[in-house]
Symmetry: C2
Subunit: 454 residues, 2 copies
């Protein structure tokens, strides 16, 4: 009786779309989770990508090795077609990098990493007085008089009071992206910044930066949270000099690949249900959370459907994009190709928030469509899915916006994500197998339900 | 306007209780989370308990050291009274312990730990043929003929398909609790079991077992997940002998202490809002998740109220119970004392599910009361709290049942908990500072809201 009520509610739900939820939806979804949590196939794939292949920065051969490996895994899982789409990307190089602070006594070494896109220092490094700022406003107030010839230290923070750490990241990352560009205007010789993280750790976190259109390009690095605390405390005691050495930079271009695998639909094969993550990573860690987890999630979506005996009506397409981190090249190339070939994405879902336990989805669509997805809540809430927010998709789906218009972003728990993000800590042991698989099953269950809508 | 609507809904909510939500509730709750996530005082306390004091098994001096430390911390945080309540407990002893499997070739060492309450083996150990069972039904079917003189190996599992790992634990723990008692009936000379965990690791997990009223007491141990896989594979190849050595047992009794700290209410000091965790732990790890986290949570509840400038109307009482793990002695003694002294617990909340991110609460109360708590949902859901389930409290509150009748169990995310539970992995690095503090803030926010009800 209870079941019937549920079914009727969904069938006559408050949307403009006709809807069908299979009579055995509850059992089918349970089977998807059971398969994911038992076999842990997504974790096994991710384990290989992390430990056998490793970091996959833009332009690396490792990125291509991961593309070939995942293509084979998708064929083994029953993909009808799987292929590699070439993408021209900048080739990022990182060599030795370090910094030392001087305040009278012995120099203090600070864990340091070049930001992605930074120019190198001269071979002899740069050594200059440090000036600390807490914001662009403080930088501006100091002006050329206070900045020229110095190293600017952005002692800036993610806002710990924000519950979504992605929101906190959004507020802090501007100092990473534009810190060197802004400081260069006032004659700074280099910049360092407190790593964009919430963990009070001693590892530096990298990430992309930009000089914009500026001709002035000063070397730019991140130092660890604890190093930033140390440097700030030294500056309270008086003048501090910093010596910075960075061997890094873009060394031409290289070819990386998007991996594209199709699991053909039995009824509407021309309607594509895209699910993806990005196969590249930064170079300091194995890219387990960012975004190996998203790749494992995406690969599991059709695999879990097929393993539980479900034949998708629409075509489920797995796309693992090349070089998200350093220019979004893979996503742009995929979108260009899709438009050129008149591909219709009935829906597109991205996972690029790590492998922690599920919280829900962000849905980028018209209001009726959002309400339609929300009618699945009662079927999905037993699995911890309670967020069905407006606005979804992620960076790699952005080039498809305006072309197709139904996007979903998977939203895992965010508390731990920036502990690992872009650092040497982002390795396979950052991944909790059950939590990862819960995410894969959640995405697969949602796609199963969507596939059954008219 | 939106705010007003919310307020009216709560005020005229569908319950029989008169209700008041302070006009600034939203801001007060935000302040509680901000304080928790900034200062991370609960994590700092827990860090001390784990790293400076360490494992706190029943009868240990470390349990008393932790009681004294937390009492001082509560006084420092502004407690009006704080005291130690003596509790007589069994003194648990663990010495050397190991096992080796023989199947023709060189012996294979298996990571092994005595279950809590097991008798020791003879000094020369026990060595016997292994018989594997997957359930009590299989044990019974083998009977005395198949069991006598052998070591029973319970190759039993937590059900990986259950989303709540606490439910999965509930289904598997009977083999730990009663495995030796049942096997003893058929003449087994010892038992070993697959550790009760979901992580496919190589550490054994201990926990309480019982011989019931049986005169027959056979030594009982857990082996790691990977050792159980190994042993099972060896048994597929033919006969296997196991040699087991356990130096363990109860060595009389000792005095431990409940820590009780009162933060007096300004309007209804005689109405107690109890919040607690248990201060003891098993002996293999530091007891960070089980239940140092719960102690830190409980201690933070009044501390966060006071730090954000809130004066509680009712008395907030922190109770850290002695010896939950090995007999619930602290909880029984507290309940005895409370009844003897006519203490009225208006509400009692327990945290004994670890320090992961919040999911919600279990509420053990009459239906009207549950509905009343559910009206707080809109104020608490921005912090990830979405479970407001019927049935709450935990083991340490159970002796109060029937005496007072409004219990709450804090429910964190459960996916990782049994990775650490009762093992050498349950150390401070099992705790994620922000996640722990989110829990403390969630409990404090709920108590703030409850304190404002008539």
């Amino acid at each position: 009786m209870k079941k019937l009520t549920l079914f009727l509610f969904i069938f006559f739900g408050p949307t403009g779309y006709s809807q069908e939820v299979p009579a055995d939806a509850k059992e089918a979804i349970k089977a998807i989770y059971t398969e994911a949590l038992g076999q842990q196939q997504g974790y096994q794939w991710l384990h290989h990508i992390c430990t056998e292949i490793g970091p996959r920065p833009s332009g690396s051969e490792a990125s291509n090795e991961a593309a070939r490996y995942t293509m084979q895994m998708m064929l083994d899982a029953g993909a009808d077609t799987a292929w590699l789409q070439p993408v021209e990307v900048p080739k990022w190089h990182r060599g030795d990098e370090w910094s030392k602070a001087y305040a009278g006594g012995a120099p203090i070494s600070l864990p340091t990493t070049a930001l992605g896109g930074s120019v190198p220092t001269p071979e002899e490094g740069v050594k200059a007085e440090v000036v600390e700022v807490g914001s662009f406003e403080e930088l501006e107030a100091l002006g050329e008089e206070g900045i020229k010839g110095k190293i600017v230290f952005y002692n800036t923070y993610m806002d710990h009071s924000l519950i979504s750490t992605f929101n906190a990241y959004g507020g802090a990352v501007k100092y990473r992206w534009a810190g060197a560009m802004e400081a260069g205007k006032y004659g700074a010789v280099a910049t360092v910044m407190r790593s964009v993280t919430l963990l009070r750790d001693d590892l530096p976190h990298t990430g992309a930066m930009s000089y914009g259109d500026s001709e002035v390009k000063v070397p730019s690095a991140a130092i660890s949270w604890q190093a930033a605390d140390k440097l700030s405390a030294m500056l309270e005691g008086g003048k501090v000099e910093l010596e910075l050495y960075l061997d890094c930079g873009v060394q031409g271009t290289a070819t990386n690949y998007n991996m594209i695998a199709d699991f053909k639909g039995s009824e509407k094969p021309e309607e594509i249900m895209l699910v993806g993550g990005h196969i590249d990573s930064w170079d300091l860690g194995q890219g387990a959370q960012d975004d190996g987890a998203g790749c494992a999630h995406a690969m599991q979506v059709p695999n879990l459907m097929r393993k539980t005996g479900y034949q998708n009506k629409r075509t489920v397409r797995v796309v693992l994009w090349a070089n998200e981190e350093f220019g979004l090249d893979g996503a742009k190339e995929y979108a260009r190709w899709a438009k050129e070939n008149g591909v219709h994405h009935w829906v597109a879902m991205e996972s690029d928030g790590g492998g922690d336990v599920p919280r829900g989805f962000g849905i980028g669509a018209d209001d009726d469509r959002i309400e339609q997805v929300r009618t699945f809540k009662s079927l999905l809430s037993p699995y911890g899915l309670h967020v069905f927010a407006k606005g979804g998709g992620g960076a790699d789906l952005s080039p498809l916006r305006g072309y197709d218009n139904f996007f979903i972003g998977y939203r895992p728990e965010s508390q731990r994500y920036f502990d690992f993000h872009h650092s040497a800590r982002d390795n396979i042991d950052a991944i909790h197998p059950r939590s990862l698989e819960m995410g894969a099953a959640s995405m697969s269950a949602l796609y199963y339900l969507l596939d059954n809508l008219d």
